[in-house]
């Protein structure tokens, strides 16, 4: 960690790819139908201050990541507990995304292949890149981002003939309740999951806090999700009520320009694979860093492989079927993730600010 540095651009790319990771394909805010975009905007408005809390926390303790801060603020034993909790959260999240990916491949592309295969492939790739370190991860994300953005952009353009503005009406027909529910769900998946970045990064001592790339990445990722959601809404309209598992796939399948530009779902697959790759890698990295902290190791490289394999196994066995996965993701997950994403960082920041304030006062006193 001390030699590996990532630039602002690389951080930006990682955040964008993390945010759009699994959300583009699974969809967000499934509780809402036509007013999804309002839910996304509200969630974004709530996520921006939350992210600023995360960054402020990092900048108060230069050179330390979230786990170090937990130890510092809460002491050895309680800190250890929290580090364990966060490690579990990262681990669980990685397994969930892995499973999402496996379900996607299993359902849409290769029904007969047992789900362990795509999960294994993805898992092995993530283990490799995490072993190489965060610098390689950052550079790869930096390289992949323009490609992904270009693909999404071209697909959006190609979808234009299929767009139907009427599908966006009526606005707020069902009132604000489902919209707020959807906003809450979107906030916790994917916006506030970026708390894991605090676990893998630390603010270098004499540089500015990374507000711009972090927030910029969040907003850019949210913007991409917004445009894709708009596209899905305008292409599919009411059939969204049937709750397809992967709406983007079906929407993109409708592109037909001339007789040749058709059947472009492969672009959706590529975007999903790359996004999930980055997201799972970050989760794996966070989990390995947590274990490194707990076990007092020198480097996390030695634990990446066992944690990765455990993640693969967990992903394989975590749900019985897709229906369970969807129910968990949209009904329960927001509440489960709330402490990790909201409560603990806020409490940490509160305690840190108070103690810094006390320190300042203590420093000032002798001179006065």
């Amino acid at each position: 960690m001390n030699q590996e540095r990532i630039t602002n651009h690389q951080l930006f790319s990682m955040v964008v790819l993390f945010v759009i990771g699994s959300s583009l394909i699974v969809g967000v805010a499934a509780q809402v139908e036509i007013d999804k975009w309002i839910a996304i905007l509200i969630a974004l408005a709530a996520a921006v201050p939350t992210l600023m809390v995360y960054i402020k926390l990092l900048s108060l303790f230069p050179g330390k990541n979230l786990f170090d801060i937990l130890f510092l603020v809460f002491g050895k034993w309680v800190g250890r507990l929290f580090v364990l909790l966060y490690t579990w959260y990262a681990f669980h999240l990685g397994a969930m995304v892995l499973r999402n990916f496996g379900e996607f491949v299993n359902m849409m592309a290769m029904p007969e292949t047992p789900m362990i295969m795509p999960i294994l492939l993805m898992g092995v790739s993530c283990i490799w890149i995490v072993k190489e370190g965060i610098e390689v991860l950052g550079r790869s994300a930096f390289f992949l981002l323009p490609i992904i953005v270009a693909i999404i952009f071209i697909v959006q353009l190609l979808c234009i003939p299929q767009l139907n503005l009427q599908f966006l009406t009526p606005i707020l027909a069902d009132g604000w309740e489902p919209v707020l529910e959807g906003a809450f769900s979107t906030f916790s998946f994917p916006f506030a999951e970026t708390v894991l970045f605090t676990a893998v990064l630390c603010c270098p001592a004499n540089k500015k806090a990374p507000y711009k790339p972090f927030l910029g990445g969040l907003i850019a990722g949210a913007f991409i999700i917004l445009t894709v959601t708009f596209r899905n809404l305008m292409v599919m309209g009411a059939t969204l009520k049937q709750s397809p598992y992967f709406p983007s796939y079906i929407a993109v399948g409708r592109i037909r320009i001339g007789d040749f530009l058709q059947r472009m779902e492969i672009t959706v697959s590529i975007v999903f694979v790359v996004g999930a790759f980055i997201k799972i890698s970050i989760c794996l990295l966070a989990a390995s860093t947590g274990v490194k902290k707990l076990a007092g190791l020198n480097h996390f490289r030695s634990v990446v492989m066992p944690i990765g394999i455990l993640m693969i196994l967990l992903a394989n066995g975590i749900y019985k079927n897709t229906i369970e996965m969807v129910k968990w993701a949209f009904d329960i997950y927001s509440y489960y993730a709330l402490p990790f994403q909201l409560f603990i960082p806020f409490v940490l920041l509160g305690i840190a600010l108070i103690s810094k304030h006390k320190e300042k006062k203590a420093n000032e006193q002798p001179s006065s």
Binding site: A109, R139, E265, I270
Partner: protein, 516 residues
């Protein structure tokens, strides 16, 4: 190198190729003793000639010229040395000074050196120089009259260009260095000699521009060359493989070129060149990914045309890597992604073909590689036969006999030609193509995507002498794609590449406007 140390029973530290020399390491005073020593060193070697000399007028002046038959310039030897010694009337006052007197006053050859070191004398003789021994003197004169047959400077056969200079390196170190030096007439160009290889004692030269190249890289290169412990270097390829950073990667992290203009261009960007005697390929260090797709011609042609060519090359490389894999995955796993008429055409072509698509692809790729390798090894007299056989085999007969589907022929031809377009990355593409094909056969397009992701991971993690391999790649900032994806016009390429030339980045002044 370390393997030798582990062998049991090997007590000596000295590798078995070297022989212990009889006697000491210095010459004696007496000519007979010296001759006896040297004759025993060069025992059983009929090529080494000993020419005994005696001065016409002063009988006490006795000497011997030792040289290798066929490797010396006899004009220098005969006229400037032997004749001078024989007919010299430099008086002999004191014995010890006589050799130096002769050297200063009688010998006409320009390149001479006095030495007492026996090792140096034997090395000099073996290289093709001549040695003059005089009775009563413990020193000897080495006359640098080496005259080896060598190729004339002609066009580089591996990198031909339509536009640009046509001289290429030869196997002579001095000729190569002169080709570089005559283009870079600056005192900042430093050339440092080194000798590598215990048996071959190959002379190599490190060239760099002191005010631009990074000192760390030069030091690192020197360090690695010093650590090199091998018996012989026959071609620069040996050095390239041994000192490179990621030995198991299929991608080159040390560049090579046969063209002086290309090397000089790289020197001007801050890279370090390594010229190896006996090899027309000069190495450059560091070597990063964008250079795989650059040719010197890009910089001489119009920038629009050059940019187009460069993008074509990158596209060709991607095509060559992925096309067979994508074809196999689409027709075998994801038939829904093909438009219906295309699918029916492919299906029609595959009717009655006995092999599954993957086997077909493998077979045809291997046949193509066999043809390529055969074409490279075949004597030119039979070269025509190969192309005819290739066209017949790959083309008509396989399709007519319903062994291979016609769509596969197109795929393989496309892949093969695209791979040949990029010579520098050809080796990597060849191997990786098969890897992607296997991945596609297992997991369809997802295998290919993951293969690509792992390839990106690998490329991002390797470094060339401390510089990340994918420096600049993937950056869409204007400053970075100026020389990777496109070739920006010269007035925009004001700065040298980061990290490599961090000492001195300004190439051109700000006022160099277009059209001046």
């Amino acid at each position: 190198m370390n393997l030798w140390k582990k062998r049991k029973g090997q007590e000596e530290d000295c590798p078995p190729n070297e022989q212990k020399r009889p006697g000491g390491t210095e010459l004696a005073f007496s000519l007979e003793e010296n001759l006896a020593t040297l004759r025993s060193i060069f025992e059983s070697d009929d090529m080494i000639q000993f020419r005994i000399l005696e001065n016409k007028s002063q009988k006490a002046i006795q000497g011997c010229v030792i040289y290798v038959e066929g490797m010396t310039d006899h004009q220098i030897l005969d006229e400037y040395v032997i004749e001078q010694v024989i007919s010299s009337d430099v008086p002999r006052y004191t014995r010890t000074d006589y050799l130096e007197e002769l050297q200063k006053k009688a010998l006409l050859a320009s390149n001479l050196c006095l030495t007492q070191d026996l090792q140096k004398i034997t090395d000099a003789v073996l290289v093709g120089n001549a040695v003059l021994l005089l009775d009563g003197s413990p020193k000897a004169i080495i006359i640098y009259c080496k005259n080896l047959e060598s190729r004339a400077v002609e066009e580089a056969s591996s990198e031909q260009a339509v536009r640009g200079p046509r001289d290429g390196f030869t196997e002579q170190l001095l000729v190569n260095l002169s080709l570089i030096r005559r283009r870079v007439t600056s005192a900042d160009l430093k050339c440092q000699y080194k000798y590598i290889g215990r048996v071959t004692k190959t002379k190599v030269c490190i060239c760099y521009l002191k005010n631009i190249a990074s000192d760390q890289i030069v030091k690192e290169l020197e360090h690695r060359l010093n650590e090199l412990d091998i018996d012989g270097i026959v071609d620069s390829g040996y050095i390239q493989e041994i000192i490179k950073d990621s030995p198991f990667s299929p991608f080159d992290t040390i560049g090579h070129s046969e063209r002086p203009d290309s090397i000089v261009g790289k020197l001007l960007e801050g890279r370090v060149a390594l010229v190896v005697d006996g090899s027309p390929f000069v190495l450059t260090v560091p070597f990063i990914f964008p250079e795989l797709f650059q040719t010197p011609e890009d910089y001489y042609n119009n920038f629009i045309f050059a940019s187009f060519n460069r993008m074509l090359r990158i596209f060709g490389a991607v095509l060559a890597l992925f096309v067979p894999a994508i074809y196999v995955s689409l027709t075998n796993f994801h038939q829904e992604l093909l438009p219906t008429p295309l699918l029916l055409s492919i299906a029609a072509g595959r009717y009655d073909v006995p092999f599954p698509t993957v086997i077909e692809a493998f077979l045809m790729l291997i046949v193509f590689e066999i043809l390529r390798e055969a074409g490279a090894r075949m004597p030119t007299a039979i070269g025509q036969t190969v192309s005819i056989v290739g066209a017949l085999v790959l083309g008509e007969a396989a399709v007519d006999a319903k062994f291979i589907a016609p769509s596969m022929i197109i795929i393989v031809a496309l892949t093969g030609i695209s791979a040949l377009m990029n010579t520098k990355v050809q080796g990597a593409i060849l191997v990786l193509r098969f890897v992607f094909l296997i991945l596609a056969a297992f997991m369809g397009i997802y295998g290919v995507i993951f293969g690509a992701l792992c390839l990106i991971t690998h490329l991002m993690s390797i470094r060339s002498f401390g510089i990340p391999y994918m420096l600049k790649e993937g950056s869409i900032r204007y400053t970075d794609i100026k020389d990777t994806l496109i070739r920006a016009p010269w007035w925009y390429m004001r700065l040298r590449p980061q990290l490599i030339a961090s000492k001195n980045r300004v190439r051109m002044s700000r006022h160099a406007k277009k059209g001046t």
